[in-house]
Amino acid sequence: MNKDFVTSLRPAIILTILFALLLGIVYPLVMTGIGQALFPSQANGSLVHDSQGHVVGSSVVGQAFVSDRYFQTRPSAAGKGYDGLASSGSNLGPTSKALVARVRADIDKQRDAGITGPVPIDLVTASASGLDPHLSPASALVQVKRVARARGLPETQIRDLVNRNVDHPLLGFLGEDRVNLLALNRQLDQLANRRTGGTH
């Protein structure tokens, strides 16, 4: 058995080195090379640029929207909110006092902004990643009134914009009805710009 230990150390060590090179270096680098060549946008984070070429976000990752002029995001437990270096859920359990206090405070905030009726659950719960880019259509629609008031635009126009931005499940069953907030809020800005542009 002792001799076996020593003789079988050689394959163990050499295979570790060979596999480390193949799986730890060659494989990721080859995938990086091919990925960068074939899908450069996605491979670098699906970044979204504004008209001046500045990076304003990623089309797949959420960012914080807290202003009344924008459709607001879900609460986030990633760092101080939507921290791209600290993804996390709240990890609060169903009977947590801290959870109830947080949800109650967020509901109060919505009520202050004039939202009546039941509050859609995703609007006041923290996502798993803290970087959720989406809202349910219901959670976006309850904000229409507030956004319209803050922007001085007709509610119907804002509601149409939300409805146009609803993504539906792939093949009817993959995923949920949802609204990408970065896309929606960018269009909201463009809407306002066009309007300002039109009046001059």
């Binding site: 050499i14 295979l15 990890n91 809202l135 993959l174």
Partner: protein, 567 residues
Amino acid sequence: MTFQGWILIFVFVGILLALTKPVGAWLFALYEGRRTPLHWVLGPVENGFYTLAGIDPTEEQSWRRYAVHMLLFNFVLMIFTYAVLRLQGLLPLNGLGYAGIGADGAFNTAVSFTTNTNWQWYSGEATLSNLSQMLGLTIHNFLSAATGIALAFALFRGFARREMQSLGNFWADVTRVTLYLLLPICFVYALFLIASGVPQTLAASVDVMTLEGAKQTLALGPVASQEAIKMLGTNGGGFFNANSAHPFENPTALTNLVQMLSIFMIGFGLTWCFGKAVGNSRQGWAILAAMLVLFVAGVTVTYWQEAAGNPVLHALGTTGGNMEGKEVRFGIAASALFSVITTAASCGAVNAMHDSFTALGGMIPLFNIQLGEIVIGGVGAGIYGFLLFAILAVFVAGLMVGRTPEYVGKKIEAREVKLAVLAIAILPLCILGFTAVSAVLPAGLVSPLNAGPHGFSEILYAFSSATGNNGSAFAGLTAGTPFYNSLLGIAMWLGRFFVIVPMLAIAGSLAAKTYTPQSAGSFPTTGPLWVGLLVGIILIVGGLTFLPSLALGPIADHLAMIDGQLF
């Protein structure tokens, strides 16, 4: 629960059933050491590895030799990753300038990835350099998975061979599975992920100026290459802290479906491969049927509870199911389904935070792990764990009818039953023992985030996950303390190798036996009666052992939740 949600669940199972035979046939070719169409590309790599390492792939190994070589290889791999993590600060590809990892943390992570657990006490994007992710972790994702499949092959040979002293060659099994199964699938899989929005770059991060004018730094890295093997090899260790909930790991509902399929694909195939190896594919389908009964039952409970939502939050004026810790793009059905898959297998990747599930919705993932992750299970580990239960089940059936039990042509005698019980007993010993210790020591009690029964659930989940080599967590628990890093590291090691060694001993003992043909007195191990017996044994062994601990944790939590009592 919605109709759309159930369509997803049925489509998921349907696709896997369609893949079972093709994947199983490919696995069977590797099991037999046959040439595959990929040999003309990768054959020279395989032979080169053997030559450099001084391996004779045709050398047949006894169970002891197979076990020793497997242990040595895993030990060397663990030391390698320990060194990479400790030296991280001195190594390249460290764009965010992270320091080396401390001794207890590096020990925990090295054990964690060696044992296919991928328990993570740290937050990936805030702790590890890109080199550590690639070199330190990705190789384990391949090799711990390949080790699991090799071990399953060894056990299959134990059942299939007659009067032989050997179980195959460990080095050849591991190398072939890695080169001809895992690597080619990951190549295609990673490309699909990149195309869908998963980053694959050597850059560590990118700065963004948000619409509201704030600065947001997004962590990047070679994510797709690691993500592919993380799922396919049922490893589950995320590149990012939020794991498969992070939009960069799992950006769409389609990537989510593919990730779920890839957790189970090899496990489904291995049941077919087993049937083929023992000469009766109905034996494989019977195992798969028993697994699916348990799986669908688990999905139903979790989906039902999560869709029903949290009455405490409804009382505040909200409407909808439980969305705390869930992503809008997946919704409740795909989150509940993912949680049951990842714990039925020993994957441990998460696309929703199990800690924030409703009490009973979160109990099913916990219970799945405590059963030993034998419902499909981790690649290799699932089927060999399941076969241990099958040995117990034929033993119980034999006691009832008063005959020597047989399974797939082999007499099951005292030695095999003793070893199977030994392997199965390690789970409750580690899980309940370590949980009990942590629930009374001050060093254990500082870590739970939640108070009350849910805090106990967090500790119980951690030791279940570590011992079961799952790696998912009730992540509120602050696990990065020397106390938990050490105890959980030990639990992971015991939970992996103290199951494997008795299992290989059974394989060795079975291989030496003669073939016993099926007779009128044999208990048939293909029909519904057998499936029912298997499910019963699994639930009784699992249920009786763990029910008291579940009563203290999730069940008490549920009663508090419906009563509106908070902690």
